[in-house]
Point group: C2
Chain length 338, copies 2
């Protein structure tokens, strides 16, 4: 029996790695939202001085990595490996972002759940004794995502109320074997859940059952409930998905609502910012985690959070072929104590 | 200092996991090549009974996973997690392939190096004490790759001599904590190397420097040379890339050539099969590993091999934007003894 496996799918880390540094860089719209004070840099220029949105996204990654390493007092050569991924085809947002770093790389893909997946694998690599210093970074950019997944920006396509707004942002975290915390203590990887939703403009509805599945497994594996956490934060379920998730738990007699928050709802002010159901994208969960959430933990606002990023594993091709949307959620426990 | 880190970037597994089962499924053309006897199933129908090439690719994944689990006498519920990835946008080839399995999933992306990356992370997850049974699977399909990366198949685009032929195939491997071997004993993740090649029809030239970088690091980290292995097998450098790689080592006074083979050259007969520089795709290294190579190790043909899959981290968008091709190679030592 695996020594670090609790129940069916939760990994219990024995030597929880510590966040040695974390940083987030976002675009103008995010910088006008409620979390504006938590970002390390807000770029007024959507191109970040680059000639394409794709290059701009990679520039976000470079800046986030640089800032996180600075805070950790580490350089590229101190990092044993990096886990990274993003929404762009073939994950070029992050791979082009780290290509000059010389850091051994593991590319990952979990759609908007990628930050939790990267963090999970980074933590497991340190806890497993393979590395002392590991980086996790993800990104998204509204403009590169729109033209790849939806319509050219110039087309000005109408957005239904259930749609979400892809965050322009990148979050990076440095994990080390030793340190004062916060620590990654548990990881619950997700199973794919597909309840048959085919509307690519309603990702929250597609992803909520995956978040429910992973959270339920996590609670069962550890024999706990929502009360074990000060905050249970999903990635980007938005307004609709968050409602569905809390309803699912309510039907089980479990009160998730009082502990639940969603990065997609935290990052924008839906009343003023016209983002419909909320924010989304790999950069959403990443930039909220690497600013607001981890800063809040360091300040003692929360002692123990369950970070559960969610991803819709669709592509424009699968949507055009009429496929439903397989979704996934990966949960990571972050605690101020080991 | 991390207890399992040798030199700069090689992980030394302390409790090497064992291959409990492995299987590969390929298309008709691969089934007509030199390795025909090593495949578990050869599908004469490029659609595998499905209505699209994308669904066909996912069907390859399903069949490979099923066959590997059968050989390992395992069922879906025995598998703690799966590492999988492929070339399709948003990695839908494999995610749709495993979506009904209920196995917790980590999606990975390393272009054609994905099988080595999946295997590396699967082995580290078992060695790290997190899981007893982990699956690694990747895929590619000539038709889904052509229409996504190049031109519609019906267009009949001319292929330059340096181009490679995407393998239609999937390979799956089940690793377990206990077993009689072969074992995964070491992992050397790759750094991104980009020497400025911009020709997306010459991936071998783009990837060879990455293979050189990873192999050189591996040899230095462990203080060994090519003689430590019975076979050093790259993923899909093809004829041109293989020549460049061996030349690089020759310039260092190291004879790699006598130990080197390449999955892209092994899987097709270039004289008869019109594949130009050789085979490629995530399914190339995967189907050669999970048939010919692991079967050969079990039969005692080789005792110790260095499996080094290579990937070109480009996308059609980066190519159109004039970017050069960042490449990566991940090396995994497979040995009949711990």
């Amino acid at each position: 029996m695996a020594i670090k496996l609790a129940g069916k799918q939760t990994f219990v880390l024995q030597a929880p790695p510590s966040f040695a540094g974390h940083a987030c860089i976002v675009g103008k719209k995010e910088g006008e939202g409620p979390l504006r004070d938590s970002f390390d840099l807000i770029s007024a220029d959507p191109f970040l001085g680059e000639k394409s949105w794709e290059r701009a996204e990679s520039a976000l990654v470079k800046k986030a990595v640089g800032a996180a390493l600075d805070k950790a007092s580490k350089s590229f050569s101190d990092v044993n490996c990096v886990f990274c991924g993003d929404l762009l085809n073939q994950c070029t947002g992050t791979s082009f972002g780290v290509r000059e770093s010389g850091i051994p790389m593991f590319g990952v893909y979990g759609a908007c759940s990628t930050m939790a997946e990267s963090l999970a694998l980074a933590a497991m690599t340190v806890d497993g004794g393979f590395a002392d210093t590991v980086l996790a970074v993800t990104s998204s950019h509204f403009c590169s995502a729109e033209r790849q997944f939806r319509t050219p920006l110039e087309y000005g396509g109408q957005r239904p109320p259930s749609s979400q707004w892809t965050v322009t942002g990148s979050g990076a975290a440095v994990l080390t074997a030793e340190g004062p915390g916060p620590y990654v203590t548990h990881v619950t990887p997700g199973r794919i859940v597909d309840n048959g939703v085919t509307d690519a403009n309603n990702m929250g509805a597609a992803m909520a059952p995956a978040a429910y599945d992973t959270l339920k497994a996590h609670f069962e594996d550890l024999g706990v409930g929502p009360d074990a956490y000060d905050l249970i934060v999903t990635g980007d379920l938005g307004a609709i998905g968050s409602e569905i998730l809390c309803d699912f738990f309510a039907a089980d007699g479990v009160d998730l609502r009082s502990k639940h928050a969603d990065c997609g709802l935290l990052i924008f002010d839906r009343k003023k910012q016209d983002v419909h159901s909320g924010g989304s994208g790999c950069g959403c969960a990443a930039s909220v985690l690497c600013g607001y959430l981890l800063n809040g933990m360091r300040a003692g606002k929360w002692q123990r959070i369950l970070f559960t990023a969610t991803g819709a594993l669709l592509s424009p091709t699968t949507t055009m072929q009429g496929e439903s949307i397989p979704s996934i959620a990966c949960a990571v426990v972050i605690s101020n104590t080991k």
